[in-house]
């Protein structure tokens, strides 16, 4: 809240902007510089930022946020089918519908707190998932998933249609447009879809930052610490939690809409409980309640999902080819459990290590490193009283 804080915030925003702009270059050496994965980084980043507004600030753990992601995707694809391949109306509808959906679910689920709230959200999400598979097939196209077809009306740009399926675009700029540039000896792909999603993530991040620093955010933090006390302080906590729930639902819907913008199809599996669990993992892994943690967590999980799952045994043999033959086989047979289909195992181990040793997530580890690098390991009390002096003055 002090001058120091606002300076830190500025650095943080600049950092995020730079990371997004330079993403394709920075991540190239890690094998993650291709558009498809980069898009996932920023889109799931938005999802996790939104989830963190609810979970990180109020402590309400929703296990059904994937429902909003799915609703966002379906809404966006319907917009592509009915109106136009332009992503703007699709994104707007995705946010509106998911917001309304969150209002409904939040209104009911927020009557309870703690584990009961989590179970209610989980139940609602699973209900949506099953409905999408069964009763709602006319809207969701069931198991096949909803996709764009030649025969769709597309009122606004039906005229431009030719043989191939139309491409999602932003006022004519195709989402899949990619410029291949040779830079620093690397083959860098600058993709339009990635930069559009990235810019939206920057805006989403900035809005979340403002929320965190606002009186509204302060009330949400108070709810997390002692909701009962807040009520006795004259604050009606229910509308605060509901607002936070709806905002995070809109973020999830936006992420779902963007997923459809980069790849115009929507399936029910996007709403499944594993997808809801994934965003919880992202937030906790990165650091719940921190600004950068959720983005970091989303990046790490999507990286593991895409990179580790791509490895197979023969590639591992190459990696460990420097070892003597008998050792090589042993190492490969053990480590192959952790790649390919087994990437979940790697993620599980990583998650356990983080929760046990760094309860504050990757951000806590990062902060510890910064402290170490600055030389002195200051006790919490010392830094707190130093902060006190700043505020008191």
């Amino acid at each position: 809240m002090t001058v120091e804080q606002s300076k830190k915030d500025k650095i943080m925003v600049i950092g995020v902007v730079l990371a997004v702009l330079l993403g394709p270059i920075i991540l190239n050496p890690f094998g993650a510089g291709y558009p498809d994965l980069l898009q996932k980084f920023v889109i799931y980043g938005i999802f996790a930022i939104g989830f963190n507004i609810l979970f990180g600030l109020t402590g309400y753990l929703s296990f059904g946020h994937a429902a909003f992601l799915g609703v966002g995707s379906y809404s966006a694809v319907w917009m592509f089918k009915l109106l136009s391949m332009n992503i703007v109306p699709a994104i707007i509808l995705a946010m509106v519908i998911s917001g309304l959906f969150a209002l409904l679910i939040g209104f009911i689920a927020l009557r309870r707190s703690g584990i009961y709230f989590s179970i209610l959200t989980l139940a609602f999400a699973q209900m949506s998932y099953n409905l999408a598979y069964s009763v709602l097939t006319p809207i969701t196209n069931g198991e096949t998933g909803l996709q764009i077809l030649h025969g769709d009306p597309r009122v606004l740009d039906a005229a431009v249609e030719d043989g191939a399926l139309p491409v999602t675009n932003l006022f004519g700029l195709n989402m899949n447009a990619t410029a291949d540039v040779s830079l620093l000896g690397m083959d860098i792909q600058f993709n339009a879809g990635y930069y559009i999603c990235g810019l939206i993530m920057i805006v989403a991040f900035y809005i979340a930052l403002r929320l965190f620093r606002s009186p509204f955010g302060m009330m949400l933090k108070a709810i997390k610490t002692n909701q009962n006390r807040l009520n006795f302080t004259g604050v009606n906590s229910r509308p605060y939690t509901l607002t936070a729930f709806v905002i995070s639902g809109i973020y999830a819907g936006l992420a779902g809409g963007l997923l459809a913008c980069t790849d115009p199809l929507a399936g029910a599996e996007r709403m499944q409980w594993t997808a809801s669990g994934e965003v919880v993992l992202m937030t906790i892994l990165g650091g719940a309640g921190t600004m950068l943690g959720p983005i970091l967590g989303a990046g790490v999980i999507k990286y593991f999902e895409n990179i580790f799952s791509a490895y197979n045994e023969s590639e591992l043999m190459d990696v460990f080819s420097f070892l003597p033959h008998w050792l090589q086989e042993l190492v490969v047979s053990v480590s192959s459990l952790f790649v390919g289909e087994g990437w979940h195992l790697t993620l599980g181990v990583l998650f356990m290590l983080i929760v046990i040793f760094l309860p504050g997530g990757l951000m806590e580890g990062f902060n510890r490193l910064v402290k170490l690098a600055r030389g002195g390991y200051r006790k919490d009390g010392a830094s707190a009283s130093a902060a006190g002096k700043v505020t008191a003055e």
Partner: protein, 252 residues
């Protein structure tokens, strides 16, 4: 003198226990009214009925012309009733300053105002109010500390600051000095005296007779859920019924 809080015919049962039995209470505007009584007499239960934590089975609680029965806790607070809890209830993860800014915001903005886009840093007026309240309880120097790191006595003083910053019409104090060192107790008594000198009405529950007799202008003695005596402090001291309630009828 007009009464600001009028309590009539309160009954409250917990299963078979008749915790409050036809309790009447009249708190006069601007006075310090103490409620004393042995353990289990129903003092805290009575206070919980004022703030909406409990709903009495029968009876009325009228505050400044408004009935408090059936109102939610935040609605009762918004009518101008603030409370200091017996066990400290604070926002442990937040700083002291933030702890006091929250009730100040609640006082200014009402029960719900989604100020999503403004910044806490821009709330200079609220910050000044909070700093003043903290200085009043002698904790201005600790404003940036996390509340969890406070001692129990300091937590009580923080709670007092949280109540005072709202500039309430009625302050309910549940054992405000419990867990405090003697020096802190005396400082708190002086503080409460100053505040009551400004005309703030207080209802105070207290075990420490030193505190009660230094502050109270009227005392109600509660025993087994009923008010057995209500009188001026000097008349309470030697009252036979009071001695009986405290000492179980063993005459001295």
């Amino acid at each position: 003198m007009s009464s600001i809080l009028k309590v009539q015919g309160i009954n409250k049962h917990f299963g078979g226990l008749h915790a409050l039995n036809n309790v009447n209470l009249d708190v006069e505007q601007g006075k310090v009214h103490a409620i004393i009584g042995p353990n289990g007499a129903g003092k805290s239960t009575l206070l919980n009925c004022f703030i909406g934590r409990l709903t009495p089975d029968t009876g009325t609680v009228d505050f400044d012309g408004t009935s408090l029965i059936g109102l939610k806790p935040h609605e009762i607070n918004q009518t101008g009733v603030s409370r200091v809890f017996q066990t400290p209830e604070i926002f442990t993860e937040l700083t002291l300053l933030e702890n006091v800014m929250i009730p100040a915001l609640a006082k200014r903005d009402g029960a719900f105002k989604p100020s999503l886009w403004s910044s806490m840093a821009g709330e200079t007026e609220i910050r000044d109010q909070a700093m003043n309240a903290l200085s009043e309880v002698n904790m201005g120097g600790k404003a940036g500390m996390t509340a969890a790191s406070l001692s129990r006595g300091d937590k009580r003083r923080l709670e007092l600051a949280m109540a005072l910053v709202q500039n309430p019409k009625l302050l309910l104090l549940d054992e405000p000095t419990a867990g405090m060192a003697r020096a802190d107790t005396n400082a708190t008594i002086d503080l409460l005296k100053t505040i009551s000198g400004k005309g703030l009405t207080m209802v105070i529950i207290e075990h420490d007779m030193h505190v009660v007799f230094s502050l109270a202008e009227k005392i109600s003695v509660l025993a087994q859920g009923t008010v057995i005596v209500e009188d001026l402090p000097e008349k309470i001291k030697g009252h036979p019924k009071v001695q009986e309630a405290y000492l179980g009828g063993a005459h001295l």
